[in-house]
Subunit: 308 residues, 2 copies
Amino acid sequence: MNEIRIFSPATVANVACGFDVLGFCLDHIGDEMVVRKTDKKGVVITKIEGFDLPFEVGKNVAGVSALALIADANPDCGFEIEIYKKIKPGSGIGSSAASAAGCVFAINELLERPYNKMQLTYFAIKGEAIASKCEHADNLAPAIFGGFTLVKSVNPLEILQIPTPHDLFATIIHPQIEIKTSEARAILPKEIPLQLAITQWANMGSLVHGLHSNDYGLISKSLHDVVIEPYRSQLIPYFKEVKMAALNAGALGCGISGSGPSIFSLSKGIKDASNVEVAMNNVYRKTNIKFDTYVCKINTKGIKILNK
Amino acid sequence: MNEIRIFSPATVANVACGFDVLGFCLDHIGDEMVVRKTDKKGVVITKIEGFDLPFEVGKNVAGVSALALIADANPDCGFEIEIYKKIKPGSGIGSSAASAAGCVFAINELLERPYNKMQLTYFAIKGEAIASKCEHADNLAPAIFGGFTLVKSVNPLEILQIPTPHDLFATIIHPQIEIKTSEARAILPKEIPLQLAITQWANMGSLVHGLHSNDYGLISKSLHDVVIEPYRSQLIPYFKEVKMAALNAGALGCGISGSGPSIFSLSKGIKDASNVEVAMNNVYRKTNIKFDTYVCKINTKGIKILNK
């Protein structure tokens, strides 16, 4: 096999009570990439469509991830990469993670899978670090493993796959505003009240229990973020209105996707998820902010091979 | 049925990363109680053996719990209660919870079970509040439901039953020193670093996942308390030495039981749990502090009927 085309999905990190550790994978929202073996060693990015991103390999998250893998694998060939970017950088649904994860996944396939998913995540973290200035796997883990993941620790890398109830759907609204990562970080407190932390870990434990036991009612009761949301939601216009509209339309829960500006909801069944989309839409179309909305099932497979 | 004898178990609350919400139930360590219907309405405590506790119904946790149930049920009879106390009050393994839970459980049986376990917990909380000056169910829930419980909230009362891996054993050491509840509370910070809170809820999520998936390795990696233990362990002499000895002897994890002074360990299999007991024993017998140790399986049933 000399060429592969893959789909690399968008992902939602944090997931309300799971700040910095939990994530889930979206279906049919994501980038496509074509990776091709070349005789000449090394990595070249030959095409980037959709958004303006650096072709210089050492400055591109996909490129840096590829280099990390290649440094370890030392293959007899090189690779050229085409990136068909559909997830807008900075949208809060794992744009850089999709590039980083997709690229190492594709190269691993072309090399006949010398690495497992945990190892691929490790390489992809190196690329992701270029975009987010720190090593984390909140979006990479769900992109690579699919479903819900809990990144228990980054060093050493420990990723847990939490079961995904069959009927769980996500609705996403992406307001086209820019939130600087530095601002999203700076707004967070260094210390938090112990009582709020207790509420958060009670919700975290019960969310994991709810996912294991297919208990949609409990998932709904657990999807609360009493620690981060009160701060970061200030950076997203109409966050409260969107959240209230989503919950009134039947969402199990609603929160900030990653560090925003996207907002996610989870619903039982596509009908509720579609009603939630309409409700979110109704809030934002009254404003002059451009936005996109998506409805999709939780993707339990992660990155998919389109053809090879 | 006019009389019932029950066994009401000791319990471990907090369980490392699960401060204020998680608990589990111990086997064959606990109190016995005999409850008997009487023609005369009301509640009388006729016997208390083992420890010096108030006979006055309104000042006794079992008495207050019984009164809470009776106020709701309004039965045609009264009850007399005999308490055979084996769990030392203030030991940190749910002494007052055993009395409160056992009493309402027994009366419910004599009344032919008008209440479910959640309702019994609600009544028992009223009694527990006499002892601990606040309404909580960390010890009550595992005593009544058995196994591991997560008290997601007290008001409204939400209790989740988390699966218990079959081969999980507890080792307890109870140093016979007194820690005042007020002191154990006062030593806690009101605010904690966000980074430590994140570690704690990552551990909480992974502990629940580990219990669901029978993953003893993950349970071990999750049994860490980075928030409370650094403070409260200062109140327990030789805590660090006991913990290190327990882990070296094969314990999956070790921490403070409730607010102490008891220390619990969890192990896979009775052999490891017994080795841990020897190791804990070796630390404390070199001191001049009196202590007891126990080894037992996790009790997945909770309160047991001995005869009726």
